[in-house]
Amino acid sequence: MMKPDMSVEIAGIRMRNPIMTASGTFGYGEEFSAYVNLEEIGAIITKGLSLKPRAGNPTPRIVETPGGMLNAIGLQNVGIDAFITDKVPFLRTIATPVVVNLFGNTLDEYGELAARLDRVAEVAGVEVNISCPNVKHGGIVFGTDPKSAYDVVKLVREATIKPLIVKLSPNVTDIVEMANACADAGADALSLINTLTGMAVDLQKRRPVLANITGGLSGPGIKPIALRMVWQVAKAVNLPIIGIGGIMSATDALEFMLVGATAVQIGTANFLDPSAAQTIARDMELYLAENGIPDVKKLIGALESN
């Protein structure tokens, strides 16, 4: 059997395969290194980083749902200073690109974070989380308003020359409109979807299960929505797309590529199986070899119409 070419490239980030690990599910890489060979996955995306350290929400922060889970971690992170001192040294030791996910409470914070990360050589690119409330504008989530999203991306674009990925929120009426706004502002790539807002209730206590009341839904249950959104955005926007949402297997990953994704992120699956990303990468390669497909890039957008 021939050895397929599994490599993909997004905005200059060269990956040995299309498998990336999703922000918030893989820590900063080191946590999973005992279970996974980090050099068998395409790229790692770190936990979301903010300017100042952030405590996150009170517990309970997580709850299982049928075929998924809700999380309301609250973006707890060590802050950029501690990231540079404590986490970057490990990243230097692995031959896998590391993309840093970042977010801000205000427009300025996005710009400042991007400018600081621009100077860190070990960072292969940035993924901008726009699913956060703008505290200066009544808490409207940046990613639900095309103008806000445009402003964030424009500011980040001006602050860094690094590959710029924008992670889109699905909690919108028209994700294509959001995608266009980000593309116009200078994004190099789009990753979608982030989690869907959901809720769980404890009947016995007559209370919400999560301390934060609502949380983000992830896992196999959201895959159909994610697939649909990737398909819609891929048809409308001329940027590479990274598909996220309930990917548990190589089959799932390949489906996302068919609808238009150049790469995919594995998130919740890491909790079921810490070696998931590696297994999916290997299984994808096997699929290609067994089906005589010499290059994984041939599958991008190769969906045929009914």
Binding site: T25, G27, G67, M69, Q76, F271
Partner: protein, 271 residues
């Protein structure tokens, strides 16, 4: 380590409580008392998340159905409280499970020869058995077990076989003393001088009471916490508890799965 285990036995030891023995890789035998494993209860997406269980016992035994060869094993206790544990209760010999472990920070047994006190409530007892087993040879161990009713008091015989002095209390008085196990513990500490270290595992209200007692009597004390978990390895930050320095402006959250589950009681914020 991620490994596949075979169920050797899955026995109901009390209404709603089970004791499961599983095959284990040899490397697991060097686990610390107080560490835990994350169990994938089914090879499916529902229930989605692994369930954490303290290591109750580890050992080497000749398996029943193969010619006397040594087989390292692991044992866990669980109570059927929801979907995942209900699924575990249906398993029997020769079923397989995917496990992660050993995880977390275990008990620090301290110096041998000094008397140790163990305090357990319900299925929280589990890691205390493995701890008692490692201590019993060199140390005098006293165990205080509590439960709502006699059915919640588990494995007394097993502890006694190790030579552990066991004191039982039930809320309704159906076994042992009537009242809270922490009340029995307190009376014991007032009457005797013994006890150079306390190790506790059980429901949060019990741990809070033990921490208060440890503070009052100035005895070093380690507590093992439970938490709802997703990743089990300090990446998702779902299972945090407040460290002693935590306040609104200076966050100090610890992961029960990685910084714990065992903590020095003074490391945590109890209010």
């Amino acid at each position: 380590m991620q490994f596949r285990s075979m169920v050797i036995s899955n026995t109901k030891i009390s209404p709603g409580y089970f004791r499961m023995r599983l095959t284990a890789p040899r490397e697991l035998l060097s686990s610390q008392p107080g560490q835990f494993i994350m169990v994938r209860v089914r090879d499916a997406i529902d229930p989605l998340l692994r369930r954490p269980f303290g290591i109750f016992d580890l050992g080497n035994a000749p398996p029943e159905f193969s010619g006397g060869m040594e087989q390292p094993y692991l044992e866990m206790l669980y109570r059927v409280v929801g979907k995942g544990t209900a699924m575990l209760a249906t398993l029997h010999h020769s079923d397989h499970l995917d496990l992660l472990g050993p995880l977390g920070k275990g008990f620090d047994p301290g110096d041998a020869g000094e008397e140790k006190i163990l305090v357990g409530g319900g299925v929280g007892l589990a890691p205390l058995y493995y701890l008692a087993k490692t201590l019993a040879a060199t140390t005098r161990v006293r165990l205080f077990i509590g439960g709502k009713t006699k059915e919640d008091v588990l494995c007394v015989t097993e502890f006694e076989r190790l030579g552990v002095e066991t004191y039982v209390a039930t809320d309704d008085g159906t076994l042992g003393a009537s009242g809270l196990v922490t009340e029995v513990l307190e009376r014991h500490l007032l009457e005797s001088q013994g006890g150079k270290g306390i190790f506790a595992c059980g429901p949060m209200p019990m741990l809070k009471a033990v921490a208060a007692i440890a503070e009052r009597f100035k005895i070093p004390c380690q507590v093992s916490l439970e938490a709802y978990m997703a990743c089990g390895m300090g990446a998702c930050l779902g299972c945090v508890v407040k460290g002693s320095e935590h306040d609104e402006f200076h966050p100090d959250y610890r992961c029960v799965c990685k910084d714990g589950p065992v903590f020095d009681f003074q490391e945590l914020r109890w209010v």
